[in-house]
Symmetry: C2
Subunit: 347 residues, 2 copies
Amino acid sequence: MQATVIYGAGDVRVERVPDPEIIEPTDAVVRVVRSCICGSDLWPYADMKPSEQGRRIGHEFLGVVEDIGSEVSGLSRGDLVVAPFVFSDNTCEFCVEGLHTSCLHGGDWGSDQVDAGQGEAVRVPQADGTLVKLPSSAAAGDAALLPSLLTLSDVFSTGHHAAVKAGVNERTTVTVIGDGAVGLCAVLAARRLGAERIILMGRHTARTDLGREFGATDVVAERGKEGTEKIRELTGGRGTHTVLECVGTLPAFETAMRVVRAGGVVSRVGVPQYKDGPIGGLQFGRNVTVTGGVAPARHYIPQLLPDVLDGRIEPGRVFDRTIGIGEVPDGYRAMADREALKVQIAF
Amino acid sequence: MQATVIYGAGDVRVERVPDPEIIEPTDAVVRVVRSCICGSDLWPYADMKPSEQGRRIGHEFLGVVEDIGSEVSGLSRGDLVVAPFVFSDNTCEFCVEGLHTSCLHGGDWGSDQVDAGQGEAVRVPQADGTLVKLPSSAAAGDAALLPSLLTLSDVFSTGHHAAVKAGVNERTTVTVIGDGAVGLCAVLAARRLGAERIILMGRHTARTDLGREFGATDVVAERGKEGTEKIRELTGGRGTHTVLECVGTLPAFETAMRVVRAGGVVSRVGVPQYKDGPIGGLQFGRNVTVTGGVAPARHYIPQLLPDVLDGRIEPGRVFDRTIGIGEVPDGYRAMADREALKVQIAF
């Protein structure tokens, strides 16, 4: 089959690799229908050291079950399924608590003998625990729903995680930092949880326009000190109760800590590109909470699925380009150049 | 009157200062009955630059109302009252939310024309909002209750804040870092909130023995890497759901981040002696929340008071030395030398 392999910064190739097959009795093989490129894939695309053997990449996909191991009981060949961006058994003490990203038997797509998501098929470990079966109505082929269903794999679940960990509800004001696909999904998630005041920090008009459609009530294009002042102006000098940090850089986190209201919460879902951050006396004096992390998408998918199936939310609108597997290298380039917001791969 | 003035590191003096009097109609003057020295007073005692005029110090006290301004309606002369460690109006948007430490009209003892707590009397701004009246039974003079009532001013409310912000309950395991008075109060607060497994990190046996009486089920004397390994051994390799960081140094915070279970909470009440701390990818990957801050004691006092009055909890046991005002400089020395755990000043 064909799959995506990254060999270093700027060097993504589509290559012929072995077809996946069942190894463990708890495995399934999924023929991929849709996959996509993640903002976090752009970090190795920006700075990965050259590697001779390369590594498989991609962690968001939905597809059709093609084969199952002898111990898989909840899935059948032909089922349409969506995969969260890590695999997990859904039964260990962490999974039971809803923290599937810390599963004792889980792991990452593309590690060891596990396929990554940007390819034609994937061997899925812990298939019963990992895959979420989609109803046959979606399987019947309403292709219009597929992009939104695909976002449950990572990007919308991640935006939702930011909002949930921040405690967003109808009484909380919200700042979302970042107008990438995760930031826009965080806006949509905050609105879905009842927030009535959502300030989106971003400066790409096409993106912030979609952010307004998703529920942003204000857009702040300024960054750094100017951006902080703008948020303070908009909030009577206080800042917002919650800040959803959807970028991952140190300046974005510093901004988050400055625009959060005393007693408020900074919830991070952008993968931190820093080791240490400002959490000293100033933040302590204001009782600011820092939370968030890697989203347990597997926990959220069943909760979010009904709203996607009903069309009440359309997170799939973050995809502004659809390509075939052969065009994946150009898809990376387009996202890195901010020519595309988020790129979907259709098989 | 006599009051305590700090002039620099190691230089604390008791001096004659002007008697306080009503300035604003919302003021009260309180004649101090009990005051104490805080662990946080030891930071300037360790590193304050020499100052010719010095500054008044102390922020924990209870006493008797001696005079009130014309607009004070909830207090009368002769009332026994306890003061939280900052003053506040108890009516602004932050106070209404229980975050009195961010009061829009509040401030610190010892600032401007406001007296500090280690003296014979204090002018109390925002008296109706700040002071909590104690029942006449306590006022009748059960001196045995006074130490525990005094801890509501700061140290026990601070330990309670750590436990509340961490979300401690009967299902959460707890690590308390630090066997100072705040750490011991955090143990007591965690036990009061239902925690059944409380690991206290500390190496002063007299203190950890009191910690066991307060509810600690395990004591870990090791620090750093050895301490972390010990906690992991005690928790099946997982760490605890909550960590109450009651020291404030960077190594203590680093330990907290290492011994917290994935998905858990590090709650800080030790005043951070650092600007930046480890909150990068490692903490993000484990979904660790960092919370806590300056405790809104005014919010907690009414909630904690019944248990103190009933004798169900005795946080006042953290005081192991009682001195007169003239001995305050030696009280500082004794606490700095760890000869005394916490020093009470009786007037």
